[in-house]
């Protein structure tokens, strides 16, 4: 079964929009991050439920109204590495 990822509940983040990006204060760590699309959308998707890369890609495809899910999946995989490194997303 492909690896799944999860993020903390939304209540664990404070997000402020600036120039189309999200400035996110992560309560558990006290660290602030600046996120550009699609990182905030990935976080939100993973706050609702644990998903694997394809599941996240499907969410983004719907959110952004894009059909090319396999291309999205490549971007998602990349962003997950960053989000994990930032401590905002964890593998389960």
């Amino acid at each position: 079964m492909p690896r799944r990822y999860r993020a903390d509940p939304r209540s664990e983040r404070i997000s402020v929009e600036m120039e189309g990006m999200a400035v996110i204060y992560h309560r558990p760590s006290g660290i602030t991050h600046l996120l550009a699309a699609p990182a905030p959308e990935i976080l939100d998707a993973l706050s609702d439920q644990a998903l694997d890369v394809d599941g996240i890609a499907a969410c983004l495809a719907a959110e952004f109204e894009i059909a090319a899910e396999d291309e999205i999946a490549a971007v998602v995989a990349d962003r997950l590495i960053e989000l994990e490194g930032a401590g905002l997303v964890a593998r389960i």
Binding site: H33, L35, V75, R79, A86
Partner: protein, 142 residues
């Protein structure tokens, strides 16, 4: 939260060619594989509250990360003859103090290269992120 959805709505034509263009543009909004979308705020001083021994000085500063350093510690163009490339890692306050006091070279560098780096640090303007590191490096006169 960031934007709710696609930023530029284009009228959907029934024509297949016209539908491809908006999709591709929206795809580009997701960024490319390899492009970064997450920047973590790491204020240099605040994250080490109370422990300035851990402070570091990048040589050169991040705003000039491509420049080389000449023997006098001035920023010069990359590959300038006689100049030195950027330090592979930021120099710690301890390393710089050791060089100032005892002439100890920085790891992996020659005596002259270390001196060039130290001269660069001597010329640093006091910026916020280097405030306490800078204070810890000041030499008494004479």
């Amino acid at each position: 939260m960031a934007h709710e959805g696609p930023m530029n709505e284009e009228p959907r034509e029934g024509h297949p060619a016209a539908e491809v263009a908006p999709t591709r543009r929206r795809l580009l909004m997701l960024g490319a594989v390899g492009a970064s979308a997450v920047v973590t705020i790491r204020p240099a001083l605040a994250s080490t509250a109370g422990s300035i021994l851990n402070c570091e000085i990048p040589v050169p500063d991040p705003g000039h990360s491509g420049n080389w350093i000449d023997a006098d510690g001035k920023l010069v163009a990359p590959n300038t003859p006689g100049a030195y490339p950027p330090a592979l890692r930021p120099l710690t306050g301890e390393q710089v103090k050791s060089n100032l006091r005892y002439g100890r070279s920085y790891p992996g560098t020659s005596y002259d290269q270390s001196r060039a780096y130290t001269n660069y640090i001597r010329r640093l303007q006091q910026g916020t992120s280097g405030f306490t590191c800078y204070a810890s490096l000041q030499m008494p006169r004479g």
